[in-house]
Symmetry: C2
Subunit: 427 residues, 2 copies
């Protein structure tokens, strides 16, 4: 068990992270990829310590009355470690994001400008629960030449420390500094507040967790923060939709995994298609025990046609609510404009979809809905780094600044301008 | 004279800015460019009101004892308005940054992903003194489909309001909402604090001004902030430098405009070239009344060879200091490594240069110095939006997050993911 981290230690760790960054940012893609390969192998071949540590967390959490859903998120077993190991191999094989020439310009005075992609620096993350996040964040930071300072939830402390030990061994084998990945093991929340003040040491802070953690971090951090994770997701079924496609998309977006940010919250239905669609949807969703909070018009149709579904009259708070459960709001709208307006008012800029065969409606929705992911004829559940081909994600940004949507390797980079001259001076 | 803005008004303005953004973000490049063309013409043909307003600011400032340098920054005359008008024509002709497809991906499940460039949203700026900043910020925001809320210094209030009137007329002529550009006319600082809290309305805040303004804004803003403007700029003369080139670059970087952020602050000289370079540099810089704060070794050489220059022994605070005047620090280093280390410790991540004919030193310096602009054989004075071909700049970012270096049109954009499917659901 690692020593507790106090405030003086935290500053020392941040300084070591900054020093390690100079090494990492000038290391080769080969060296950085080898760390992930080693780590991947060790999670498969040498997982006894990690599984033992996870057992300890699991039994403590169970004794403390953690819910079954949360216990399942906490659990590591051989097959889950194998899945993590496979993700690591995939990330290690992704193109090196570092050193890419994004743009070149030759100015009239002969100066040659190169805009080159570089790592961001020291990335701190405060997150909750799932231990695989420890590996995802470390792997994406290392592959992109960044260093990281992590602090996970106290319920997974032993699992996280065992995983970080494995990461340290892999760094050592690859000849890179172990301080490139560091874990803050103190459960005391005052240390988080201290971390939020280290703007001279930390270049970016990524909180992952519930609404209150995100809000606390974004209100108190002195450095840039990527906020996200809150998804009030709409699916709009246009007059020109294929009804069976709309049904399949809505069921998937609502029930496949209702507790995550890209799950469906509000169904908007064009008035022309509502009489056909809603009775079928009522039947579909009742089979999955979904409860619907309906506006007056949709309530009338559903009450008359869907005896098995749980219906409530929607209250104002239902619009713009992230349900994170088997509940959805339903509203009938008279046009694609009304759907776009509703999303502009109540959306959270995460993921919104239109189902339609009509090209004009599709183009208007895709152009005008201002969210990080806007879908035509697909489930909003795809907003995810792995699904977008990024290997994994450090989080999903719903802000427009720096990165939007799933954040993979490239979203952990910055750039610098290199200017080559032959003695140019400014007149 | 416009009405004063109170807090209720400020929130209303921010809401109008957000509403105008929906129009702007879906407007054509033609409409947005026409605003700048109209404005350009009106600054040349119809400048009486603006010049009168500027005279009022100027005489008030003079009566209040403003320094000549500051008065010069405040002054507008026909030729300065013509220069601003010319910049506007240039910006209007730049490629449309909006709508560009940055990247496409076709996933194995048939989903087609498009990463498309979009405007950022509502951009607020708090700035000081020079009235041309009002036009620069408005023009770059409008061309890139953003709306802006501006608050300039109280000393230029009449000039700024007259310029904003001209912008409003141009917006009206182009059929775009006047609320796309709004000016906060209340001199009360409490309103600034209020503005910093409007994170649900303002997507980005850009402070431009002195150190204390930048610090106040970045510590108190609830929305993302681009910080910058502080430049501790180094020029390192390597053993393999062309001595005459080094002299020309150093003189230019130090004396051509010493009060700006990209002016030279510290001269680092390789020990092998110091005995030849420093006596010549002492002579050069003494002709421009430059004062040098020297480490022990450089002080000995300069004392022995340069009777005319003002010399002081450097104190610790001289390293990492932005002088903003005809003062520079001088240090002799034994290698390119020592130069890179010195800049890592004392630099501000703005602009740093190496002068050398040696390729290995050049590559190491360009790769390893972690600043927004790293120069080989050129003056650091070129770090500027116009010099980088961006037409103008809303500021220079020294942070690594989102944008680095001069911020022009593209740096005022975000992106969104458009995902087109044929009924895909997640398994």
């Amino acid at each position: 068990m690692a020593e507790l981290v106090d405030i003086a230690n935290l500053i020392r760790m941040a300084e070591e992270s900054k020093a390690a960054f100079r090494t990492l940012s000038n290391s080769s893609n080969e060296a950085r990829s080898i760390v992930l390969e080693h780590l991947s192998d060790s999670l498969v071949n040498n997982n006894h310590t990690i599984l033992e540590a996870n057992k300890e967390d699991y039994s403590t959490a169970k004794a403390n009355g953690m819910s079954d859903a949360m216990l399942d998120r906490l659990l590591l077993d051989s097959s889950r470690l194998q899945a993590i190991a496979k993700d690591l191999k995939n990330i290690s094989k992704l193109d090196d994001p570092i050193g890419e020439t994004i743009e070149t310009r030759l100015m009239d005075n002969g100066l040659s400008l190169e805009k080159r992609r570089v790592p961001l620096g020291v990335i701190a993350s405060i997150y909750e629960s799932r231990p695989n996040v420890t590996v995802d964040i470390s792997a994406l930071c290392l592959k992109s030449g960044n260093t990281c300072l992590m602090r996970g939830g106290s319920e997974s402390i032993n699992s996280n420390l065992a995983l970080v030990d494995a990461i340290h061994s892999s760094l050592l084998e690859a000849g890179l500094p172990q301080s490139a990945v560091q874990y803050i093991s103190n459960p005391d929340r005052s240390l988080v507040t201290e971390l939020l003040g280290l703007k001279d040491h930390v270049d970016l802070l990524i909180p992952r967790g519930g609404d209150s953690l995100i809000r606390f971090v974004s209100e108190n951090a002195s450095m840039p923060v990527v906020t996200g994770g809150i998804g009030v997701c709409h699916t709009y079924v246009d007059a020109g939709a294929d009804i069976d496609m709309a049904r399949a998309i809505i069921i998937n977006a609502k029930v496949q995994r209702p507790t995550v940010c890209n799950a469906l919250d509000t169904i908007l239905v064009h008035t022309k298609i509502a009489p056909q669609l809603l009775p079928l949807l009522g039947k579909d969703l009742s089979e999955h025990q979904v409860e619907l909070h309906c506006d007056q018009s949709s309530l009338e149709i559903l009450r008359a046609t869907s005896p098995d579904i749980i219906l409530k009259e929607a209250v104002h708070e239902d619009w713009g609510k992230e349900f994170l459960s088997l509940v959805a709001a339903v509203k009938i709208v008279d046009s694609v404009d009304s759907a776009i307006d509703h999303i502009a008012i109540y959306g959270s800029g995460h993921s919104d979809a239109i189902v339609t065969e009509d090209n004009e409606s599709a183009v208007r929705f895709l152009n005008e809905v201002d969210s990080c992911a806007v879908y035509l004829n697909a489930s909003t559940r795809f907003t995810d780094g792995a699904e977008f081909g990024m290997g994994a994600e450090v989080g999903i940004s719903t802000q427009k600044f720096h990165a939007r949507g799933p954040m993979g390797l490239r979203e952990l980079t910055s750039y610098k301008w290199l200017i080559r001259g032959t003695g140019q001076i400014r007149g």
